[in-house]
């Protein structure tokens, strides 16, 4: 589910507000929730994002305030295998490959800390990885093209430019 505010990032905070028996659902990504100030919109009790994130609120106290909000890390879950983010952070293992997608918002700091980088640059499977291989080939050719131009080797440069164009057509057509 995507964030209802930006529509780009997956929603990781889910709230249900109940006012006079009427339920309204909210789904935000973390950065949009932060941008909206520390408060969840419409909560008269003044629940801060931080108290939500640190797990200070439980469902019962929420119910008493007639407002149902659930903590993101508890309900942020992989729709594929059912693992929640808090389970993941406890055992340090993903449950399936889709966890990477559902927890994506939270993974950058983790990968930064463990690996110092966020993006894979190594081997790519021949099947299923064709597109990225072509992209990398294009990057290599572009670099070579720059060199050729600098060295005023224009015939070779023209050839490279054609190659790049063909490859770019190839991946845009896919």
């Amino acid at each position: 589910m995507l964030c209802q505010e930006c529509g780009k990032r997956p929603a990781t905070l889910h709230f249900t507000k109940i006012v006079n028996g009427e339920k309204t659902e909210f789904h935000f990504c973390e950065s949009c929730a932060r941008e909206k100030g520390e408060m969840i919109p419409g909560t008269s009790g003044g629940f801060s994002i931080h108290s939500l994130l640190s797990g200070l609120l439980d469902i019962e106290t929420m119910g008493k305030n007639a407002t149902g909000a659930t903590k993101a890390s508890q309900t942020l879950r992989c729709e594929e295998c059912g693992m929640t983010y808090s389970q993941f952070s406890k055992i340090g293992r993903f449950g399936c490959s889709s966890c990477y997608k559902y927890f994506d918002d939270r993974l950058d700091p983790l990968f930064k800390r463990v690996h110092g980088s966020l993006v894979h640059v190594g081997k790519v499977p021949k099947r299923g990885g064709g597109r990225i291989q072509v992209k990398r080939k294009i990057d290599d050719l572009k670099q070579e093209l720059q060199q050729r131009i600098q060295q005023e080797e224009f015939e070779e440069a023209a050839e490279l430019r054609d190659q790049i164009r063909n490859l770019e057509k190839e991946i845009s057509g896919q």
Binding site: R93, C96, S97, H115, H120, K123, P125, G128, I132
Partner: protein, 353 residues
């Protein structure tokens, strides 16, 4: 019938080969972690899904193509007893995790045991290649070609941005763990080891002791491996490990020379003492055995004594482990029996070598 040839001999045939710098680097290992698309990782997979993983990874065309790289045998974990599993762990052919946590797991081994392919360990597929001495590059070349064989037949869980997706976030990206096992007695004796190990950890490598509990290194054996798997190419990872290990070899050599120059008599005494004790002791625990064997190995490397070959020394390292001793001397041996068995086994091995 499960194939039992792999638990009868202590030393894998690949360890009999000679590698570069094999006086200091005992072995090189590369492990590649892969998972199949659309199936949960073994942690959350049910028995039927694990069975499906096994079937898809060992289907006929895949097996045939694999056999073109050598003769391979499959052992399912539920077909062998816990002692055989223990021996496979002591020979580094399977992980402790596969032995104890994976009833639906299996391992595929080749004739000389230099290739070990684990199925349903922490990841669906773990390809491990072992080489004697300092040959981490060769180990990678082989692992990647075996990886290609599997990839011809199955779709891996792969993401453009994150690379190969693994159960543990510390393996994501390349899924590559390259490691070397080093014998570093002189760096330990000259008390330089901690400084060097902390320097090594600054450049993205991890060090741990082998066979010891926690960080304690029994027998001065250390395993150096890459920590980073994401954001570097496989070649960069291998090159980084390679160049750091080269420097460590240099340091160890210098420390050995220093010991010879400064205290040749003490060194010679220490080596010969250990040789004597190994040759005649009646009781020996695993800790003492590891230390004495390390002394003996160093003495042979330095030409202080003409002892057994390095292959025999490697064999003794494995043979003196608890599981293997139990295998050799029967199931119900207690600790004291085992220490007597260990001493006997070492005595007899050294007597005929």
């Amino acid at each position: 019938m499960p194939n039992l040839r792999f638990t009868e001999k202590a030393l894998s045939d690949w360890m009999r080969g000679q590698g570069n710098d094999s006086d200091i680097v005992i072995s090189s290992r590369v492990r590649v972690a892969r998972n199949l698309q659309h199936l949960p990782f073994p942690l959350l997979a049910n028995p039927e899904q694990l069975e499906e993983v096994l079937e898809r990874l060992t289907d006929i065309p895949n097996q045939e193509e694999l056999q073109s790289l050598g003769t391979f045998y499959m052992i399912k974990m539920n077909e062998i007893d816990s002692l055989d599993k223990k021996v496979l762990v002591e020979k580094h052919l399977i992980s402790p995790n596969l032995a104890s946590e994976s009833p639906n797991g299996a391992v595929i081994l080749n004739e000389d045991e230099s290739v070990s392919i684990m199925i349903n360990e922490e990841d669906h597929l773990r390809i491990q290649c072992l080489y004697p001495g300092f040959q981490v590059r060769d180990a990678w070349d082989r692992a990647t070609s075996i990886d290609d064989v599997f990839e011809n037949h199955v779709d891996y869980a792969f993401d453009d941005r994150r690379g190969y997706l693994t159960s543990c976030p510390t393996n994501v990206g390349t899924g590559l763990r390259a490691s070397v096992m080093m014998h570093l007695p002189a760096l330990v004796m000259t008390q330089q080891i901690n400084r060097i190990l902390s320097a090594v950890s600054q450049v993205g490598l991890t060090v741990r002791g082998i066979y010891g509990e926690g960080s304690e290194a029994l027998g001065n054996l250390f395993q150096i491996s890459n920590q980073i798997t994401l954001g570097q190419t496989e070649n960069e990872i291998i090159d980084n490990l390679h160049s750091v290990v080269l420097q460590m070899i240099e340091h160890e050599k210098n420390a050995r020379q220093h010991l010879l120059d400064e205290s040749r008599v003490r060194m010679t005494d220490r080596v010969k003492r250990s040789y004597g004790i190994l040759s005649y002791a009646e009781v020996m625990d695993s800790k003492e055995a590891a230390q004495r064997l390390s002394d003996l190995r160093l003495g042979i490397d330095l030409g202080i004594i003409e002892g057994p070959s390095i292959a025999v020394m490697n064999e003794l390292n494995v043979m003196t482990q608890p599981g293997f001793l139990q295998k050799t001397y029967g199931h119900d041996s207690n600790v004291e029996d085992r220490d007597m068995c260990r001493a006997k086994l070492i005595r007899e091995t050294l007597a005929i070598s």
